[in-house]
Symmetry: C2
Subunit: 805 residues, 2 copies
């Protein structure tokens, strides 16, 4: 049985919607923007309650040490200070648990909400001050004295495993995956290619820092936390457990979120502290992270060191891959456990056919800020590694990089393609894709040969210019389930309640479009209620590029149920068979007869109101719940192409042009996907060229301001051409949806590295990210003579039309 037979979705793939009424596929304006452009957004800092206290965290300045004493007397004496807590005050609260690992034995690595016996990174919360004013809290925090016995900082994940803390190794686990006969592949190989590659430590740095406002309503015995994001339901459940409460008595509320990116909305010590304080101090408690804290305390990501080898035949075909990598986790294992390392191991192979594979991911504790997921986690890193490897194979085999990729791509006829691997706990089953087809379209869009010829001319004229291409496979739509509840009220307003989260990605618009499309209403009349745990029992938040796929499919199911009920009632009211009716603009009418009498959905809802005695035979209310289940992720895919010019004086890499092509199966809102891709690319380019959390040898963080941690600004962003294709709809859901959030980020490091290599004329020169000006200058200084162009067939220039929005 084909794996896809297992996965065949229930329900009707065809849509009953008149093409003229289609909403899916239209670049309608975003529902989210109405509030935002009017300045009506409500971010965590905008939430205030009377009598609220302000929390300030006292953080360790020592990266590794034993806590001898915390003296808070002076702070407590300061007028306006209500309480100061150190580790012993919260010793009864368990550490923050995992939500995404089943690896045993990691519990001792979990982070307590305030440091107990040891501190493990500079920035770790050691004490919390609660005061009537945020400035008093900050001043009082400066009076808290920490006596810490310093221990040698362990900063390099590549060092041999050693004792991290008494009884705890720096290597709690090694992720091992693989299949096939790797040994034979390498012994039979025509050649072997070996690379040592590294990706720097950077992360999502949202415009809005984290924040949380907790309030205990004793009158209802309800604890509320405002400022939630990403995983509100899970965080609700776990905080309830940590605080000894029932989940039903804890409500988390997500407001507007000024950027999620995987980092915002995980369960952090500060979230638990504000909630605990609201319970204990019986006053609302507010905490707003400042930028320095954000760069010190919010999850870092990416830092990995790979040692990869490929066995190839003389045509550049891959026979086997062996990889060993070191993942620098930082001082604690946070909610994800080793998920990023796991994904790195499970998804490294991308779009290529690899007969044998073996990987060992060494998960290492270091005295740095703990790391976790950030947009395209494990893929950004491994796409860099894999695509560097492909370029090296091309070089080794003397074949141009495009051709070597073509030879190794999985063919569309092989789909669905089952890899004997797993990632995120599910089997890797590439559901659909035409990788070679997208490569053709991309080269044509770029005008590849012309661009290469043009670059050759410019190089000959002395410019350091080059271009690089990188291919990748993304993943999206993690199951196992999702639910949406739809209700039409007596005014005809449609309320869509979801446990999914909105972190800026446009999910409210996307779900409203799917609902409007299926239900026959204006998408602007749909109220999307999200991120409020008291509104729906279950929810999965916003992560893993799953919302449009999972919540979108659940929306479709719910909308069809509501439509069916509406048609059934309207059929009675109009005396017309349900099959002969349709819904347009919120009115149920006979199909093809726009002048016939109809009933509005509002009228149907009124008919179904339980105060009416007319609704016999129908359950009250025009509403339905839609559940969608999926056992597999699906796999969008794409290509990045970068054209760069190196400044020989400064070493700065100027990106002249950039193309992202991406197949999303079905684009609900093409303009929003473009926005996602361009935004994601900005972050990908940050990690490729600018952003890095640096530490000195003593373990002190050096990148704690925006003067040191260099974000991409409008100045650095190149023109971007985005090509969205819908060639490979997912067979795993009726609409064919795949996720769009991470494709802009995924291959940026890989494409930039290839382009810089090309501009340097030094294939393989770039072996680490970010590519800093000093790296470029060093390479330029060691360059002997221009290398032959590996893309021997190139003949033209990238046309001006290839420009982004």
């Amino acid at each position: 049985m084909s794996p896809l037979e297992i996965e065949a979705p229930a329900g009707d793939v065809s849509t009953p919607v008149d093409p003229a009424d289609a909403v899916i596929g239209k670049s309608v304006t975003r529902l989210e923007d109405r509030a935002l452009v009017r300045g009506e957004g409500c971010f965590a800092a905008d939430v205030n309650f009377p009598r609220q206290l302000h929390m300030r965290i006292v953080r360790s300045q020592v990266p590794h040490g034993r806590v001898l004493a915390v003296d808070a007397e002076a702070a407590r004496r300061m007028p306006g200070v209500i309480a100061v807590w150190s580790g012993q005050d919260v010793a009864d609260i368990p550490p923050i648990p995992f939500r995404a690992t089943k690896v045993q034995g990691l519990e001792p690595y979990c982070q307590p909400i305030l440091a107990q016996s040891h501190v493990r990174y500079a920035g770790e919360p050691v004490a919390a001050v609660f005061a009537t004013d945020p400035y008093i809290a900050e001043d009082a925090a400066a009076l808290v004295e920490m006596r810490i016995e310093t221990l040698p900082p362990l900063m390099d994940a590549r060092d041999e495993p050693q004792e991290f803390l008494p009884g705890l190794s720096t290597e709690p686990t090694v992720i091992r995956k693989g299949y096939g006969d790797v040994e034979s592949a390498f012994s039979a190989a025509w050649a072997q290619v070996d690379l040592a590659l590294s990706v720097g430590r950077h992360s999502g740095v949202p415009l809005e820092c984290r924040g949380a406002v907790a309030r205990y309503d004793a009158s209802r015995d309800v604890l509320e936390m405002h400022g939630a994001a990403k995983k509100s339901h899970w965080n609700r459940d776990e905080m309830a457990k940590m605080l000894g409460r029932s989940p039903a008595s804890v409500h988390l509320y997500e407001g507007h979120v000024g950027g999620g990116f995987g980092v915002r909305g995980e369960l952090y010590p500060e979230d638990v502290l504000v909630c605990l304080a609201a319970l204990r101090l019986r006053r609302p408690v507010k905490w707003i992270e400042d930028r320095r804290e954000n760069l010190l305390a919010t999850n870092h990501s990416r830092e990995q060191y790979h040692y990869i080898s490929a066995a190839i035949d003389s045509d550049g075909r891959i026979l086997g891959i062996r990889n060993r990598f070191y993942h620098s986790q930082g001082g604690y294992v946070r909610t994800h456990g080793p998920r990023v390392a796991d994904m790195s191991a499970g998804l490294l192979l991308g779009p290529y056919r690899v007969p044998a594979y073996e990987v060992a991911g060494h998960y290492r504790l270091t005295n740095k800020t703990p790391a976790a997921t950030y947009r395209a986690p494990g893929r950004y890193e491994t796409t860099f590694v894999r695509e560097r490897l492909m370029d090296a194979i091309a070089q080794k085999a003397g074949i141009d990089p495009i051709t070597v990729r073509r030879r190794n791509l999985i063919d569309k006829t092989e789909m669905p393609y089952e890899r004997p691997l797993d990632a995120l706990g599910v089997d890797v089953l590439l559901d659909s894709g035409d990788y070679a087809g997208l490569l053709d379209k991309t080269l044509a869009r770029v005008g590849w040969d012309g661009v290469r010829a043009d670059l050759a001319r410019r190089r000959a004229a002395g410019e350091c210019v080059g271009m690089g291409l990188a291919m990748f496979v993304e993943k999206s739509g993690l199951g196992p389930s999702d639910v949406v509840r739809l209700t039409v009220d007596r005014s005809g307003c449609v309320e869509l309640v979801t446990g999914a989260g909105s972190v800026g990605q446009g999910m409210e618009t996307a779900l409203a479009q799917i609902c409007a499309h299926e239900l026959g209403v204006d998408y602007q009349t749909i109220r999307v209620v999200k991120g409020r745990t008291d509104q729906i029992e279950f929810g999965n938040g916003a992560h893993a590029s799953r919302v449009t796929v999972m919540s979108g499919s659940a929306t479709q199911i719910a909308a069809r149920k509501v439509r069916a009920k509406a048609l059934d009632v309207a059929s009675k009211l109009l005396g017309v068979a349900p099959d002969a009716l349709h819904v347009r603009h919120g009115v149920v009418r006979p199909r093809g007869d726009p002048d016939a009498a109809g009933v509005t959905l509002a009228q149907v809802a009124s008919y179904l109101h339980p105060s009416q005695k007319t609704s016999e035979g129908h359950a009250p209310g025009l509403s339905a719940e839609g559940w969608f289940y999926s056992e597999h992720m699906n796999y969008p895919y794409g290509i990045h192409v970068a054209q760069v010019r190196l400044d020989e004086g400064t070493g700065i890499v100027h990106i002249e042009k950039y193309l992202v092509s991406y197949d999303v199966g079905r684009a609900v809102n093409p303009k929003m996907i473009e926005g996602q891709i361009v935004g994601g690319l900005a972050q990908g380019l940050g990690g490729a060229l600018y952003e890095q959390f640096n530490y000195d040898a003593a373990g002190q963080p050096l990148s704690t301001t925006f003067a040191d941690y260099l974000m991409v600004t409008a100045h650095e962003m190149p023109p971007v051409d985005v090509m969205i294709t819908e060639d490979a709809p997912s067979p795993l859901n009726p609409l064919g949806l795949k996720g769009a959030g991470e494709g802009g980020t995924n291959a940026a490091g890989a494409a930039i590295a290839a382009a810089v290599d090309d501009a340097l004329g030094m294939p393989g020169a770039i072996d680490r990210l970010p590519v800093l000006p000093e790296d470029v200058l060093r390479h330029l200084s060691t360059r002997t003579s221009p290398q032959p162009d590996p893309h021997a067939s190139d003949t033209g220039g990238m046309p001006d039309s290839a420009k982004g929005p």
Copy 2:
């Protein structure tokens, strides 16, 4: 077909609960009291938001007049004043609609949120001031100048119909009901008894005045109003309509409610004003009613003038009744329309067999505060009228009052007894009752004959003492439907979500008891979520003594569904047939084997969590919705017995002893019912002896402080004996429930009147309520000689054991 065949409830009347585990019927402590006794209650005044404004209403000092101008300039200039609105500023907002009338033509009598062309009662809102501080708002309100042309006040509902306002009569409708041949009954009668009776204007005066805090959250386009009560869902829907919003975008929240009694929680102008202001001014707006406003502006009630005649035979049996009454509505028709007059007409006949009946209820506008429902609306008034009539019949026929009642009572063998009348829009079908049986039990409890003999001795010794008895039928459980949603979370906590309201009556405890009883859990682990319109789509609030009957029955249904699902899952997990399992203390185990392995409901909920792949075959979640439908009300019944002593010097009526006997079908929590009855009696006695809204001839209200409006205090409350019986369970719901909220109030006026008559020795002397000291003195002064005791057979005194709690 018997009417009850139509009504036979679905479902199993027997309970599967082990008697040792029964929770229904136990006087467990109230869930509500945990917060209240700790001072953690949250009433409307406790709700505050940053930046909130305070509203102060400028009220008409003229009872009837034409508005010439409202000059708010001086008020607007006051620092801290943000806005002042008069009628023209809100002319676009429609007046407050009806929720309880289908009478046509009443719309012009609806109240606008601020007076438009005319004012119709002293206290009517004319302008609203919004300021940053409540004291500024009040001071500014004093600066608003109203120029009003006064018109003659129309104060007496008995005056001939006339023009109330241009084009509007003082009599918009007459309620007419009846059946049988009244004409023949009267012409064939042995005698006719005629009475003219009146009930004073009084009302529910909660400890907590009204209050409302509205907030518009532009970030979600949600309007919230805190301080809701009684009919939150209906008010939400209607306010949404008035403000041009969808119901889904308006949320009402009920906190603790310091007394409902029918008056709190109707839709009032002030509720709409705070919401409108929150929308327009974009700041939270708070309004807290002061006591003077409460006595001027919150619904009045009761004031009626009855002219009733009975045709009787020589045995004192009623052949027919004819009644004409005048209902003094006040200046506007509020949400109820003429519902109180309708119930007065439809429910007057009480427990008696009346072959022919004719009633005309003249619904009259007057220049007084608008009136509506107050605890036992239409029944308090008509029980007074009917029981006065029964005493007069006894007098006329020379039969003692107990015997005359016995002869006319509907017998239990006649149940269900269909009266060809309707009330609250449904047919009057007395579902069950043993009125004579309750009379026997009551007389035995009182030691009737002994008490009367004792009173005769005391009268002979010169004391003015007497006793009176009044019988009544209440009504409860208004349909048509109700819903409860139950969810067990992974901690085992049961959440019960209801659209019913909690106004102090103990509904949270009652519903939790029913749920605990059916589900096999501790009632204290149940979280009752109520009065929050965003938590459940439909709700009926708290009115008409319907919550325990309707929401309680829905709770039973939901609990049985949840239990069935839990047993089904546990059966799989334990390998035991569902029939052999039961739930005790939250654990599913084989019946009769307390040592056998079991699974907790928490474990079942975890198994059913959608993140688990084990729950195949079950819908996710351990939850269920229960809907209960009912087309008829049901009818509890009871008797009041009062023993009084008159102070001949002051005319004060001292209540020496009081008994309320009441059959509720099934008592969920006897202690709570006792509390309801004693509290209700306090209000009944207030209307019988003390409370009255007085007006002078110019229409000026005289009862606007507690020095003038005399509430019953602990000093006035007599010892009360409460006898709760369960002799006539309702066949209309599986648990046999009837409502308990209004029986303590219903017959208080009637019983006091009879007792004062008896003490005066002047049958029929008391023809109006309240019975004031000056009335007593007047009667005492006109008394000639002691009358013969109408209760000729009496021989003893009320024993000391007949004391209340």
